[in-house]
């Protein structure tokens, strides 16, 4: 298994080149089916571009009207991250 690590740089180079070829072919040749399969009635309220400064306020209103559940779960994720950092950075008892 440790022999495989000697070829680490060649393995990563091949992966990157292969990914480059695949991604460039797929982006240039195939058309991305943008919203082709959209059913009527599932798309939500769209915000008109015209009053340009009003977009941010409308996005905020959309966020609080429709996605409040995810915003509050995100608050729990932030609390979890604070407790995580505390657990990682607190000195253990018995240490200086």
């Amino acid at each position: 298994m440790s022999k495989l690590f000697r070829y680490g740089s060649t393995m990563s180079a091949t992966v990157i080149i292969a990914l480059l070829l695949v991604l460039s072919w797929i982006t240039v040749e195939e058309d991305f089916p943008a919203f082709q399969y959209a059913q009527p009635g599932v798309r939500g309220p769209l915000i008109p571009v015209e009053p340009y400064n009003g977009i941010a306020e409308n996005v905020a209103r959309f966020l609080w009207d429709h996605r409040a559940l995810d915003l509050n779960s995100q608050a729990f994720v932030i609390v979890a991250a604070i407790v995580c950092s505390l657990a990682m950075l607190k000195a253990e008892e018995g240490e200086t």
Binding site: V22, I26, E29, E30, F32, P33, A34, F35, Q36, Y37, A38, Q39, V42, R43, G44, W64, D65, H66, R67, A68, L69, D70, S73, Q74, F76, V77, V79, A80, A81, V83, C84, L86, A87, M88, K90, E92, E93, G94, E95
Partner: protein
């Protein structure tokens, strides 16, 4: 509705609410217990909220069953779905939530006495509560983005719980490797979400199923499938994305190893199954899944034969068991999924017992090396009984519950017309008994047990292992309740799909 009604029609499913708010209160109780010098308060609170979660999952199960397997739609804050985030709970969600809460309660009881002498216990119990809450959120999610938020919550808590004993270098190195690989997978998951959004304009599961099912196979859908498999596969330890697991599971503290191996990787598998069966036709991913199943099973078992560390052996065995579960996924039939989800529940119990009993041995002898454990089994009768039952179950010996789920899996693969999976599966089961029996023989060695000063583990730890092993035997001899629930669960995914879509898109 079994939910915590917060205001204006927003109903949070009760198990999730209990765990989230319990986890939020836990730091306050922790600092209070430090001040008042009651050290057991933190563990007791965690056991209390796990018991509360288990009871509310049972109430949820009664409600879903009573309405003829109707889908429950909860947590709609604001406008209706498919715009708003929602929780959509069908029988499969209740089944997974049941597995999670059962194992969570048992591990919480175990860790009261295992982690007694550790520092930073407040953070430990808070993060364990958040990890179980994240898993509950993943299995109940009805919307791709809700799943992503709870997926990150579950992952974040598990990175730090793996690296918890930061006094030595091992857990931190393992935790860092786990973090890097899992965060990369999260990025690929977000990328696949953007492709799905780009194709349909929505992220709701029911709307995605109504739009994308039956779409012709284009290079973009193949790219979407690979991004989804990479995104979910790192967390669910599919080869070749499994390399974090043999480092992370041994280095984590034993109750966390049991939780990780028992139910976190299965939650990753559940999420992959849910999304793939909703978005693609089962015939599309049969062959990729079959190849991944063969590679995962074989690599897990072969690498486990070469291990000298007990917990690392159990970690590779987990990878092999995920391979068995993938057999059921690749059949695409409801019968195959029955085998997969029954094996999820059985594996959580069996691997949980194995890791907890290994934790007993590590706690008493202080070593994880198998050759240094000669004869320890003769001094620790309860632990050895538990670990023998666990190994027999993992190998699929009749009389334990592992036999029944493996039988269904191999039967389903024969019925779906992929006999090579059954052949490879049976060969791998036989191979796995080799290393399980080797460990049992070392533990029960009579000659080396002379003059050993090891005594049985504390009552709570040995008691939990004993209870779980009795449950394994009981479910092996009388599997009807679990089979009934699992049959409902697996049918809810395949034949109940119209029901699922109808509940949201009315």
């Amino acid at each position: 509705m079994v939910g915590l009604e917060l205001f204006s029609g927003f109903v949070l499913p009760l198990p999730l609410a209990v765990l989230l708010f319990g986890g939020l209160v836990s730091p306050i109780l922790g600092s209070l217990s430090d001040r008042m010098m009651i050290p057991r308060l933190k563990g007791a609170w965690m056991v209390l909220i796990s018991a509360g979660a288990l009871i509310s999952v049972y109430m949820l199960y009664l409600q879903v069953k009573a309405s003829a397997n109707e889908i429950l739609l909860m947590g709609v804050w604001g406008q209706r779905p498919p715009l708003a985030g929602c929780f959509e709970i069908d029988m499969l969600g209740v089944f997974m939530a049941g597995s999670i809460s059962v194992l969570g309660l048992l591990v919480a009881v175990y860790s009261i006495s295992y982690m007694e002498k550790e520092s930073r216990l407040t953070e430990f119990y808070t993060l364990m509560a958040f990890m179980v809450a994240g898993m509950m959120g993943v299995v109940m999610a009805g919307d791709m983005f809700t799943l992503f938020v709870f997926w990150e919550l579950m992952g974040l808590s598990s990175y730090v719980l793996v690296a918890f004993q930061k006094r030595t270098w091992g857990p931190i190195e393992a935790g860092f490797k786990y973090l890097v690989m899992s965060a990369t997978a999260g990025a690929f998951l977000l990328l696949s979400m953007s492709i799905m959004y780009g194709m349909t304009g929505t992220l709701n599961f029911a709307a995605l199923a109504a739009s994308l099912k039956g779409a012709p196979v284009t290079p973009w859908t193949i790219f979407l499938l690979s991004c989804l498999i990479i995104g979910f596969g790192v967390k669910s330890a599919i080869v070749p994305l499994h390399t974090w697991l043999p480092d992370a599971h041994p280095e984590a503290p034993s109750p966390i190893s049991a939780l990780l191996s028992g139910i976190v990787i299965e939650t990753g598998l559940y999420a992959m199954v849910r999304v793939l069966f909703l978005v693609f036709e089962p015939g599309f991913f049969t062959w990729p899944m079959a190849i991944l199943a063969i590679i995962t099973m074989s690599l897990g078992n072969i690498m486990a034969l070469l291990q000298t560390d007990l917990k690392r052996l159990l970690a590779y065995s987990s990878i092999a068991q995920i391979g068995y579960m993938l057999i059921g996924v690749s059949t695409g039939l409801s019968y195959g999924l029955l085998g997969t989800f029954m094996h999820v529940f059985n594996h959580s119990l069996m691997k949980g017992v194995a890791f907890l009993a290994a934790g007993n041995i590590v706690h008493e002898t202080g070593t994880r090396d198998i050759s240094e454990m000669r004869g320890v089994g003769r001094m620790m009768p309860l632990t050895t009984f538990a670990i023998i039952i666990a190994f027999l179950g993992l190998g699929g010996v009749p009389g334990t519950s592992g036999f029944i789920s493996k039988l269904i899996l191999f039967n389903a693969s024969l019925g779906a017309g992929i006999p090579i999976l059954a052949v490879v599966g049976v060969l791998n089961s036989t191979l796995s008994m080799a290393y399980y029996l080797r460990v049992i023989m070392v533990l029960l060695d009579g000659k080396a047990a002379e003059g050993m000063k090891v005594k049985e583990a504390p009552l709570m730890m040995a008691g939990v292992s004993l209870v779980m092993s009795i449950l394994i035997i009981a479910l092996g001899l009388y599997p009807n309740p679990i089979m009934g629930i699992s049959t409902d669960a697996s049918e809810a995914l395949i034949t109940g799909l119209a029901n699922y879509i109808g509940a949201v898109l009315r």
